[in-house]
């Protein structure tokens, strides 16, 4: 049996770890609330964006538009949104798995645009091509960041350097449920309604009765609206991923705190038993000594 001193030392070490995890949990709870409020504020924008996008695509029928057909050359660009810091449970691994465990994608066909350090580390260790990395975006995602990235992606897309654009991020359902999601940004799929949070908001664009008119004409409008659509999806991914990251970290730290408490309880028991043991032993020795003198 370990000595009393060893047990005591272990217990106090676990206690200080527990304090840290508890503090981190509180911090991520606050951050989660902020991130979630941000994600909710942006929601109405995305719903309007999808509705409008859907109604436009439903109306234009078949047009030979550059953003609506896949590029013939080049790799698939995948934007991977992960966190800069660890201690968030399986958060980063789960979203990276969307890429590493994908059924049909081959490593050579992919170019990764990594937002957040952890995901980049995982993929570069697995020998994926990291074309760009933007770790600082994850500190405080802004719409300008999404616009900046969209602009570069669309340029590469038009130049034929990339053939498709995908987004891998963690969708935020609620505090405890975060779903790693893979979404195609370009070329835009036509019939399938886009829905970033998966709650199936129906199209209400035609409620005015008359069909929608476009100024400028449909195709020009697409030129202008699709970049906005892509950046709004990326931004939506960013804010949801931020909320998910903090949610995942909060959960991970909550578990760690609970585990520490359990360990401390066990050690407490061990310590008491060791103390009892040493008292019993001392008593036995004293009695034995006293008997020897008589």
């Amino acid at each position: 049996m370990a000595s009393m001193r060893d047990i005591k030392r272990r217990r106090s070490s676990i206690q200080s770890t527990q304090q840290i995890t508890k503090a981190m949990k509180l911090v991520s709870t606050v951050k989660l609330q902020r991130a979630r409020a941000g994600a909710e504020r942006s929601k109405s924008y995305f719903h309007c964006m999808f509705d409008t996008m859907n109604s436009i695509l439903a109306r234009v029928g078949y047009v030979d538009h550059k953003y609506l057909k896949p590029g013939e050359t080049g790799k698939k660009a995948v934007i991977l949104i992960s966190s800069n810091r660890g201690l968030a449970g399986g958060y980063n691994n789960n979203v990276a798995k969307l890429i590493t465990r994908h059924e049909t994608w081959k490593k050579e066909d992919l170019a990764i645009y990594a937002i957040g350090n952890k995901g980049r580390e995982i993929l570069s260790r697995a020998d994926y091509e990291i074309r760009e990395q933007l770790p600082e975006v994850m500190e405080a995602p802004t719409y300008a960041d999404a616009m900046f990235l969209t602009e570069r992606l669309l340029k590469s897309f038009e130049a034929g350097e990339i053939s498709e654009i995908w987004l891998a991020y963690t969708a935020f359902k609620n505090t405890v449920s975060h779903i790693p999601t893979l979404m195609k940004l370009l070329p835009v799929d036509r019939p399938e309604p886009k829905d970033i949070d998966g709650d199936g908001i129906p199209d209400e664009v035609f409620e005015g009765g008359a069909p929608m008119n476009f100024e400028p004409a449909d195709e020009e409008a697409l030129d202008l609206i699709i970049p906005k659509y892509v950046s709004s999806l990326i931004y939506g991914g960013l804010v949801e991923a931020l909320a998910s990251e903090n949610g995942a970290r909060m959960q991970a730290m909550d578990n760690a705190t609970n585990n520490a408490a359990e360990l401390i309880d066990d050690l407490e028991l061990l310590y008491n038993r060791a103390r009892q043991g040493s008292i019993t032993q001392e008593l036995t020795e004293i009695i034995a000594g006293a008997n020897a003198i008589q």
């Binding site: 941000g38 504020r41 942006s42 109405s44 924008y45 309007c48 964006m49 409008t52 436009i56 802004t142 719409y143 999404a146 616009m147 664009v205 035609f206 409620e207 005015g208 009765g209 008359a210 069909p211 929608m212 008119n213 476009f214 100024e215 400028p216 409008a221 202008l224 609206i225 906005k228 950046s231 709004s232 931004y235």
Partner: protein, 135 residues
């Protein structure tokens, strides 16, 4: 719905927040096709925003803001403006706008072959819109 509708719903949303929501009588802004003013009962239309002044006419007062990018969906009884960038006058930094205006003018004056003229022009229009709104 009664025959004489006086107002309609205006919603201006940005990725970061709901910028404006309320009942208005008229809204004016700049589009790729030129300045437009929208009254209730407009035919359904989607337009692309160009930098300019957004004027919201409510029953009692008129509000102005600088609207820079986005698009608007116009329906007979409501308008939704999906704005990427829109600012109330008190959110605008006048000095920065003046600087941006100068810079854009200089760039247009001594432009070179690699200057992205469309971009500079947008920057110029933005700066002008910001300064106009402050007046």
């Amino acid at each position: 719905m009664s025959e004489e509708k006086k107002g309609y719903q205006l919603r201006i949303v940005t990725p970061e927040r709901v910028f404006y929501e309320g009942e208005v009588e008229m809204v004016e802004f700049n589009t790729t096709e030129g300045q437009i003013g929208v009254l209730p009962g407009h035919i359904p239309m989607t337009v692309i925003v160009k930098p300019g002044i957004l004027t919201i006419t409510e029953a009692e007062e008129t509000k102005e803001a600088a609207l820079h990018a986005g698009f608007a969906e116009i329906l007979p009884d409501k308008i939704t403006i999906l704005a990427e960038i829109v600012e109330w006058p008190d959110e605008i930094d006048e000095e920065r706008a003046e600087l941006a205006l100068q810079r854009a003018r200089e760039r247009i004056a001594n432009r070179e072959s690699q200057t992205d003229l469309a971009k500079v022009e947008t920057a110029l229009q933005r700066a002008i819109a910001r300064i106009e709104v402050l007046k």
